[in-house]
């Protein structure tokens, strides 16, 4: 049963500091096999840092990361073994692919890097291209011959070539045209279901999360504001930030807060206080702990909406 297996990826009270700046503060969440975790936050929320930590590109200043039942270890050999099981798709398709490499080289690169290139590699690449919706893409073609949507499909093929268990997607459709975004997202979901991947989907679009995610973590200024099942939270958000995100996404007016409120994560209190319409003195002095408000949902707020 899925519930008895350890989660594929787990963040355990992860903190990441750069000098005096705290990018992440005691962030915890887990991603289970076959489930999609939506990581929602704006720029400066720390979501990219989470991805970098998950890929082993950085080490936490405090706390630990777990892959299944193994803690992250940072020797070159362990990292390599780890990265074999993680695929990633990033936001800018034009930046993610080397313009000097052919499609075959791009998708085949992870195979070569892990010494897995064999006689059947080319076949596998062709099959993958077919699966991502580019059945006629010549192996010798170059990224410049593709549009944003096509490039992202190639990036997805590359992410899956090693049959990873975990797929990290950092705003994979934000740079794409609106009429193309849904295509790519549908593709990702299909592949995720087929291969029962654990997936982390980073985005700022809460409406999208409602549609595709199983679980949800809302990040603001490097801290978890709300987490739990995506459906429950999007149906009835509790944290003022989540509420504001949901309302803005649907085109309605946002609750007025202090427009100058900037993100100061070294503060002791709740980082959202400067922009929160509910903020009271307590919010600046103390940091609200994550507390359950309904089954499965935890909120970091002294005055959540219930």
């Amino acid at each position: 049963m899925t519930d008895l297996e350890p989660p594929i990826l787990r963040f355990e009270r992860v903190t990441r500091r750069y000098g005096r700046f705290t990018a992440l503060k005691e962030v915890g969440f887990s991603v289970r096999k076959g489930r999609i975790l939506g990581l929602v936050g704006e720029s400066g929320s720390g979501k990219t840092t989470c991805i970098r930590l998950a890929l082993g590109l950085e080490r936490p200043s405090a706390g630990r990361l777990w892959f299944k039942d193994q803690p992250y270890r940072y020797s070159p050999r362990e990292l390599k073994a780890l990265r074999r099981r993680i695929g990633f798709v990033f936001q800018d398709p034009y930046d993610a692919l080397d313009p000097q490499m052919t499609v075959e080289e791009i998708i085949g690169e992870p195979l070569r890097a892990h010494g897995l290139w064999d006689a059947r590699a080319r076949e596998r690449i062709r099959a993958l291209l077919h699966r991502v919706g580019l059945p006629e893409a010549p192996l010798g073609s170059y990224p410049s011959q593709y549009s944003g949507g096509g490039l992202q499909r190639i990036a997805i093929a590359r992410a899956l070539v090693l049959d990873p268990e975990l797929l990290l997607c950092d705003e994979p459709t934000s740079n794409l045209d609106v009429s193309v975004q849904a295509q790519i997202i549908n593709l990702l979901i299909e592949l995720q279901r087929e291969r029962r991947l654990a997936m982390v989907f980073v985005t700022h679009d809460l409406a999208l999360i409602r549609r595709i995610a199983d679980d949800l973590v809302v990040l603001y200024a490097g801290q978890v504001m709300e987490r739990g099942p995506a459906e429950a939270i999007t149906r009835r958000p509790h944290h003022p930030y989540t509420i504001a995100l949901l309302e803005t996404g649907e085109g309605r007016t946002v609750h007025p807060g202090d427009p100058e409120g900037s993100v100061r994560s070294s503060m002791e209190g709740c980082p959202f206080a400067p922009r929160c319409w509910k903020a009271r003195p307590r919010c600046w002095a103390e940091r609200p702990p994550l507390t359950p408000v309904e089954p499965g949902v935890e909120v970091s707020c002294f005055f959540p909406e219930v």
């Binding site: 549908n186 649907e250 007016t253």
Partner: protein, 320 residues
């Protein structure tokens, strides 16, 4: 409502590549017209063409009138002196509009110095007022800051202040909130709505986000592959679109917000064409679920129904 901007049969080309074709559009006093378009649609070219700021290699045909002035008939010196007073421009990236080595206040003040002949101190005072008008807190201090010292939202407000400094009749905003976080975007939109209600300025707001369109626009113009697909009042376009492309965009948007969990998203197949690879006839036909033979032969005639315009042989809804 009077039209402040009149565009008739505008065509913009670079050599043999036609970016825009057959554009006829009006922007009226006191309205926000949302221009919806994706990559390759020519939306930024349209904005630049309005302000006569296209690069030298562009060939422009047609008629563009702003506040009674025929923009392309003006001699260059007259155009120069009108610039800034006729059209306020807000580009997508605020940092692209601001000089990094000058304080923000100076960049707003110089408009007053040059166009109104004010002294440096008078102009500075007006600049501080302009920053206050866009709700920048502590504007006297903010004016002395450099662009990189302000947050993204504050920068965009400063650019807005710069654009509106001389109270131009027209404001052109090219996706100004795309780079901002959602909360800040909401604040900027609310600000624009308020300013517009106060001053009756005509606004051309370029976006690809239907949520922004729903929140902001009075009328909508949909641009696809260099041609206008549809124009009409916002509420009608969102509830009963005529053009299949508009329908697809609207459906995608509503499906995202209201569609059932766990089901695939509604998606249009294919990609928007680049300016060089436009399909024949109606450029949307390869992606159109309702296409017929004639759609790939010739671009459809423009149909008009009351306030609405559509370029399609088989428009949806009750456009028949």
């Amino acid at each position: 409502m009077t039209a402040v901007v009149r565009i008739r049969d505008l065509e913009v080309a670079y050599g043999s590549v036609r970016i825009l074709e057959g554009i006829s559009l009006e922007i009226r006093k006191g309205e926000i017209l949302a221009l919806v378009g994706e990559t390759g649609s020519g939306k930024t070219t349209l904005a630049m063409a309005l302000a006569r700021m296209l690069p030298p290699g562009a060939a422009v045909r047609g008629y563009v009138e702003v506040d009674g002035w025929a923009i392309y008939d003006l001699p260059v010196p007259v155009l120069r002196s009108l610039r800034g007073r006729l059209i306020g421009l807000v580009p997508q990236d605020a940092m692209a509009a601001l000089n990094p080595v000058l304080p923000v206040g100076a960049q707003v003040a110089e408009v007053f110095q040059v166009h109104l002949g004010l002294s440096a101190s008078e102009a500075w005072a007006r600049a501080v007022e302009a920053l206050a008008r866009v709700r920048i807190p502590r504007p006297e201090q903010a004016a002395r800051l450099y662009p990189h010292q302000l947050s993204g939202g504050m920068r965009q407000r400063a650019v807005l202040a710069m654009a509106l400094a001389l109270n131009p009749p027209v404001l052109i905003a090219d996706e100004p909130t795309t780079a901002l976080d959602r909360l800040t975007q909401g604040e900027i939109l609310a600000l624009v709505r308020r300013l517009q209600a106060e001053s009756e300025i005509a606004v051309l707001w370029i976006t690809h986000d239907m949520g922004v369109v729903a929140a902001l626009a009075h009328r909508v113009a949909v641009l696809y592959a260099g041609r206008l697909a549809e124009v009409g009042p916002c509420a009608e376009i969102l509830s009963a679109p005529f053009h299949p492309y508009t329908e697809a965009l609207v459906r995608t948007y509503y499906d995202l917000i209201h569609g059932p969990r766990g089901e695939p998203l509604y998606a249009i197949q294919g990609y928007p064409p680049s300016a060089r690879d436009r399909p024949s006839g109606c450029p949307f036909h390869p992606r159109c679920p309702y296409r017929q033979e004639i759609c790939q032969d010739r671009f459809p005639e423009i149909l008009q129904r009351g306030e609405r315009i559509v370029a399609c042989y088989f428009p949806r809804g009750n456009a028949q």
